[in-house]
């Protein structure tokens, strides 16, 4: 397949809808040719609007959009040479699969033999050969999804745009198709912008991920960097599953104190000399069984234990108020409804610790867990910004833990 990937550049792009809602504000984004990037964020963060502006389905209020070297800001969608996969698939109901896939080529005046050849080729790749003469109504959800994908691939466009294309598939199929999408991208090498609200999908698919909130770009980086060095409380709370634990804390005398616990900061941490209030963040994976050398020991009382087979999540309450800011709320609201608070009077901070499943738990009463002091995150309690420093960013060696 001939590939002519082109980059995408957004310069100061803003979108204000009638009624004065700013959906996207001053967005700068540069996608390199052939890259797979994901726009992720809670609903209403403007990610779909960004995609639609790139497609030309939505006009920009300010800023410019470039595809390759061409300024397409005021170009009609039919002339931008982008292909889009819609959440609803939007297959043409009265056309066969073959005609659906060939429609874009037909509109661009590709001669019939060439159209047939390309449709056959893509249908072969996606396993749609035997469905070519069916109407969309006679297809299953997964097959429709593949036709929608095939319709985009046949076009051999400069850019693929995908608006939550997996959200209508059931959970198992979604995981399979996700992996296939990555393979497909490796094979085709077309620049792809993928929109989702699911951070797991974002992390697994994206070479780089742009996290949006309230129309503003929070962070645009590799999944690894987003996970390891979130720039603020929102990104930290949004990325990672189970989510990062938060508690209000105080740094003084080279120690971080929270909920009656005191943990010594690693030597050399720039925050070691500080004396200030912070929001402490700890990933569930930063916990271990009692007695790990060099790790802080915490005595906790498990409230809930969730068995997952290989591992086990131990949930325990801290004697500290729950960190409840706009940022953490916005991050949580996008997760599954399971995360909604069932017990509304829960005002204490609740931590989740991932522990090995073979660790013996006491039937009741306190349990001692270890916590890696190198993997603590600190955020400014007022602005939510991550506090930079060796202590808050896990050193590269911690990756092995």
């Amino acid at each position: 397949m001939i590939v002519k990937p082109s980059g995408i550049r957004l310069e100061g792009v803003g979108k204000r809808f009638r009624g004065g809602v700013d959906a996207v504000r001053d967005l700068d984004l540069a996608v390199t040719p052939g890259e797979f990037i994901v726009l992720v964020g809670p609903s209403g963060c403007g990610k779909s609007t960004v995609l639609r502006m790139i497609a030309g389905l939505e006009e920009v209020t300010s800023g410019r959009i470039f595809l390759g070297d061409d300024d397409v800001t005021s170009e009609l969608p039919q002339r931008r040479d982008v292909a889009m996969v819609f959440q609803s698939y939007a297959l043409y109901p009265r056309m066969t699969v073959r005609k659906n896939m060939a429609f874009g080529l037909r509109m661009r005046g590709t001669p019939r033999p060439e159209r047939d050849r390309r449709v056959a080729e893509v249908a072969g790749t996606l396993g749609l050969d035997h469905l070519l003469d069916r109407r969309p109504a006679a297809l299953s959800g997964g097959q429709r999804q593949r036709v929608a994908m095939g319709r985009a691939i046949v076009r051999e466009p400069r850019v693929f745009l995908m608006d939550e294309p997996l959200s209508n598939l059931d959970a198992k199929l979604r995981v399979t198709v996700r992996a296939q999408l990555t393979q497909l991208h490796q094979r085709l090498g077309v620049t792809t912008v993928y929109v989702t609200h699911d951070q797991v999908e974002a992390m697994t698919l994206g070479q780089r991920v742009a996290v949006l909130r309230d129309g503003r770009l929070q962070q645009f980086d590799t999944p690894r960097a987003l996970f390891r060095a979130p720039v603020n409380l929102f990104v930290a709370a949004f990325i990672g599953s189970p989510a990062m634990n938060f508690a209000p804390a105080q740094i003084a005398g080279g120690e971080v104190r929270f909920a009656g616990h005191a943990v010594a900061l690693p030597s050399g941490s720039p925050l070691a000399a500080a004396d200030r209030r912070v929001t402490l963040g700890v990933r569930p994976t930063a916990f271990g069984p009692a007695g790990v050398a060099g790790w802080a020991q915490l005595a906790v009382t498990p409230a809930v234990v969730e068995e997952l087979g290989d591992e086990r999540y131990v949930l325990f309450d801290l004697d500290a108020p729950r960190v409840d800011t706009d940022a953490t709320r916005a991050a949580v609201s996008t997760r599954s409804s399971d995360d909604a608070l069932l017990l509304p009077d829960e005002t204490r901070a609740r931590f989740t610790a991932r522990l090995p499943a073979d660790l013996a738990l006491p039937a009741s009463g306190p349990l001692t867990v270890s916590m890696d002091p190198h993997r603590l995150y600190f955020f400014d309690p007022d602005t939510g910004a991550a506090l930079r420093g060796g202590g808050s960013e896990p050193p590269a060696s911690a990756g092995a833990a």
């Binding site: 039919q78 939007a90 429609f103 874009g104 109504a137």
Partner: protein
């Protein structure tokens, strides 16, 4: 899902009586309103000798088509004229209404709602108000007397309702479908022709039935704008029924003949109402 037989029905003790009373009342009302239809059918099917006012409600001794044989020569020209007028009037008006409706619902422009309101306004202009200027315009342009002028008038008079029908229909079509076509490179005309029209048959059925019926049943424009050899069937019918001595068996047979095409159109197109032409476009 129907409940399997033998389940215990949950209902009030009085339900059987209430149900019986309700159906009796409905049946009585239906009979009352169907009386003229009964008289029409029975009289038209009697032999001319059997017809009399006294025995109007009696069932015919033998079914006879003699009445139809008598009136058909008088109606034939009008029938042909009406077909030649109502078919193009409804097809053209529906096509234009489809184009209007598509643009107003799915390819919107600034002020689309205002334009739509203006078009709808056309529905509320009574025929009588435009009669004289229309007559003059038609005379001036030389369209008076033939069927072309009548077709034109019906096309224009039908636009508000057909526009309304198609706009409502297309408003229910997923926005993403049209956007997919745009991204695939289709402009306004291609989106209309390849995407919108193929899913529009249900709207066409409604618009065509409506337009065909109103054009077929029109009397005022027909008598005003056409000359004797171009009279539609409604005018011809009036001439039979409106004669001095009323052979009402002939009038009944003529009326029956005159209303057959509209019934036929309804039966032929009605099946499109329920067909799910959007099936499969969206998700699972």
């Amino acid at each position: 899902m129907t409940a399997p037989r033998g389940d215990v029905r949950i209902r009030s003790r009085w339900a059987p009586y209430v149900l019986t009373a309700r159906y009796l009342a409905l049946f009585a009302l239906a009979c009352f309103f169907l009386m003229p239809v009964y008289a029409l059918l029975v009289t038209a099917l009697k032999s001319p000798a059997e017809v009399s006012v006294v025995r109007m409600w009696q069932w015919p001794h033998a079914l006879s088509l003699d009445n139809f044989r008598i009136v058909w020569p008088k109606l034939r020209d009008g029938f042909g004229n009406s077909v030649a007028m109502a078919l193009p009037a409804s097809v053209i008006s529906s096509l234009l209404g489809a184009a209007n409706g598509f643009v107003l619902a799915k390819w919107r422009f600034p002020g689309a709602d205002f334009v739509f309101a203006l078009i709808l306004f056309g529905m509320f202009i009574p025929y009588q108000a435009v009669l004289i200027p229309m007559f003059q315009t038609m005379s001036y342009t030389g369209l008076r007397g033939g069927l072309a002028g009548l077709v034109l008038v019906h096309v224009i008079y039908g636009l508000p309702i057909t526009t309304l029908i198609f706009r409502s229909y297309f408003a229910g079509v997923s926005e993403e479908l049209i956007e997919a076509a745009k991204v695939d490179g289709a402009g306004l005309l291609a989106s209309f022709a390849f995407i919108a029209l193929p899913i529009a048959p249900p709207a066409f059925a409604v618009a065509m039935i409506w337009q065909f019926t109103s054009a077929w049943n029109d009397f005022l424009f027909g008598v005003l704008l056409t000359t004797k050899d171009r009279w539609p069937i409604t005018v011809a019918l009036n001439n039979i029924a409106g004669s001095q001595a009323v052979p009402f068996n002939e009038a009944m047979a003529s009326a029956l003949l005159a209303c057959l095409p509209t019934l036929l159109v309804y039966i032929l197109l009605g099946r499109f109402f329920l067909r799910g032409l959007m099936a499969g476009a969206l998700k699972g």
